[in-house]
Symmetry: C2
Subunit: 437 residues, 2 copies
Amino acid sequence: MIEPKTLPGFMSLLPEDQILFDNMKQVIKNNFEKYGFLPLDTPLIESSEILLAKSGGETEKQIYQIKRGDNDLCIRFDLTVPLAKYVAENLNNLNFPFARYEIAKVYRGERAQHGRFREFYQCDVDVIGRDSLNILYDAQMPSIIYNIFKELDIGDFTIILSNRKILIGFLQELGLENISADILRLVDKIAKIGQENFALSLEKDYNIEKSKIEKIVEFITINGDSQSQFEKLEKFDIQNETYKLGVEELKTVVEYMKVFGVPEKNFEIRLSLVRGHDYYTGTVYETFLNGKENIGSVCGGGRYDNLAGYYTKEKLPGVGISIGLTRLFFQLKENGWLKKQNGAISKAIILPMGQDTLADSLALSNKLRENGINVTVYMEDKKFKNKLAYAVKSNIKYAIFVGEDEVASQKFTVKNLFDTTQSQQSVDDLIKILKEN
Amino acid sequence: MIEPKTLPGFMSLLPEDQILFDNMKQVIKNNFEKYGFLPLDTPLIESSEILLAKSGGETEKQIYQIKRGDNDLCIRFDLTVPLAKYVAENLNNLNFPFARYEIAKVYRGERAQHGRFREFYQCDVDVIGRDSLNILYDAQMPSIIYNIFKELDIGDFTIILSNRKILIGFLQELGLENISADILRLVDKIAKIGQENFALSLEKDYNIEKSKIEKIVEFITINGDSQSQFEKLEKFDIQNETYKLGVEELKTVVEYMKVFGVPEKNFEIRLSLVRGHDYYTGTVYETFLNGKENIGSVCGGGRYDNLAGYYTKEKLPGVGISIGLTRLFFQLKENGWLKKQNGAISKAIILPMGQDTLADSLALSNKLRENGINVTVYMEDKKFKNKLAYAVKSNIKYAIFVGEDEVASQKFTVKNLFDTTQSQQSVDDLIKILKEN
């Protein structure tokens, strides 16, 4: 006998949780499609040559490698590399701007730890341009984030955004372009290490003059609503071209985000936002659940200059966002923030009172299904209390009892198992009730 | 530069085909849920110990193995072993009969060959009982098959069914129980080798007397509608208990299939149906598309006595079916049997006539999306003919032009890109048209 256990870092849910998970996945998918994004379903396995073209040491260590004969294969660790390969492979068959989504599992052999996953869902949307891509596509992304998290209904949230060009241009203006990458990395950690240690490190590790450090700190802590932040920025009177382009882009993004219907209370410019990834070159996003910031960003992304430089000479700029659904679901569940409603597939469960009313029960189930209603029929020949216990455990809202009297009168006893009320209903009324609930 | 190519045996679709594929997947999923099956999403990777517990030599050779440190891991090659492990692992948290579906990718390192896939979708439904499972669940499966293939709308189809106990009992009655497994294997190949070679092999390879061979051939070629087949069976006057139980079960299955609404023209009893798998112990199914039998069975399955004997001492009988969607889709596409309708995600694409009507275009898109309509907005600053070319290539039915006149009158020009008709519509009428189409 082999003990049936799931590997650490792999999520395995009971059906009622799986349903909640799938509901969240469906909300994300529906919203991606609402903006016309096209579905992709890329292979999970690629040649190592393709998958590791870009990756550095850290990623490579986490990759699941497969050895099969002479083939050197890998399992994907994200959906971006498969997208890059796909776009390069199908360059002449795609319609640019190419807007695709992919919701699928990726794999990273991370250190096993509570809440860290080796198999997890990423939900990605990206728009890819050929040669160029209008900045307006950067304004569409927060609108997608906004609609998804509004519909997921897991509490208030804030989309944090910035444009990397602003900080980079600002550092150029200060004559710090040589150590710009180091400073960005430090800025990225500011929430963790604190403002004081940040300033200290700039002074001790990089020998930056105090006046410049003060200016940097003042700059990255600019706050207020977007309007007043842009006003404060103007007072810095910076002439650097990269900086000016960045501010211009961010202004356009903010202006059109509002047109897309994202309320001011749901977003915030934060110039200290740089995101770890080196490949972002403009707009960057993160999303936090208000009061639940400790679980980290629940959706991030940004603009990049070139998606697929390893596979094609064509320049393919793009903008995208990603939701790490497995981790998000885990955090919601772990913290008791999951709403338990809708934890069932069937709207009703039909319980034949005896085996003699089985055929009538099935006839009823046919009618309900023809009307688009998901329904379970309990078909074991058990005592009625066992049937009812099964129904209650199923998490299904309505139980329909089919006995000889019901068959004769064509009025069925319907019990709401959540509030235990019950009534007699004709088939037509039954259909109406089940469609509404 | 690395050449971006997909590995042989891995399907990678262009968006318009991906949409058709996903539509088929959705039809299957909807029908599984219509019968109240619960979703599972099991890990793709398991320890080799678990995944290889049951498998024989052939499967093992095809398995993708992963070596990571001390761990010996495998990628799943079907969804049945993961189900067995899952049920054994969660025995006390599941509600029996446990009805689950899983639609997911599985992996087999088959010999690369046109039309053979190493990564492919299986769409599985199974009902698992604890200790026992009513035969009526065997009658429900063909009803699910029927509804799926009716809705997939890929032509007429026939569900072939039998019960393995019948043939096994019949061979026992003939005193051939010792070579029963060999004969079943030969029966399984009869369509390939032909009736004559079948009879010849029984004579030469197994020394079976001619009279018995004639009886076997007569038996397995019984045809007609189900009623007359059962009548013909009675004339054999067989007293073997296994046989009688098999006939009884098959009668019940056929009787209740009809109650479930499966028309007689969509199923056929074929006593020569045994299916390769050893673990089926009763009802077996296959499904063929009429006139397209050459592509093989598109949905098969059956009843088994014990799902998870390697992982638990509990007896878990079940019945299930599986659709190999990747292969089915490939065959339909390859043969030109795919219907091309609905090859788009968006119902409409909005084309701003100039950048000055962009904000109005976005406001219109917001309204449509709020009404549940998927819509794309073209946001590049290109010439109008480029915008229109993009729209046409997108496969989206309606293009909506937003110019200054349209904004002023709030009547939008709507062009049906399929038949090139166009009209002026208010927002409300637009919503109505797009919802209906």
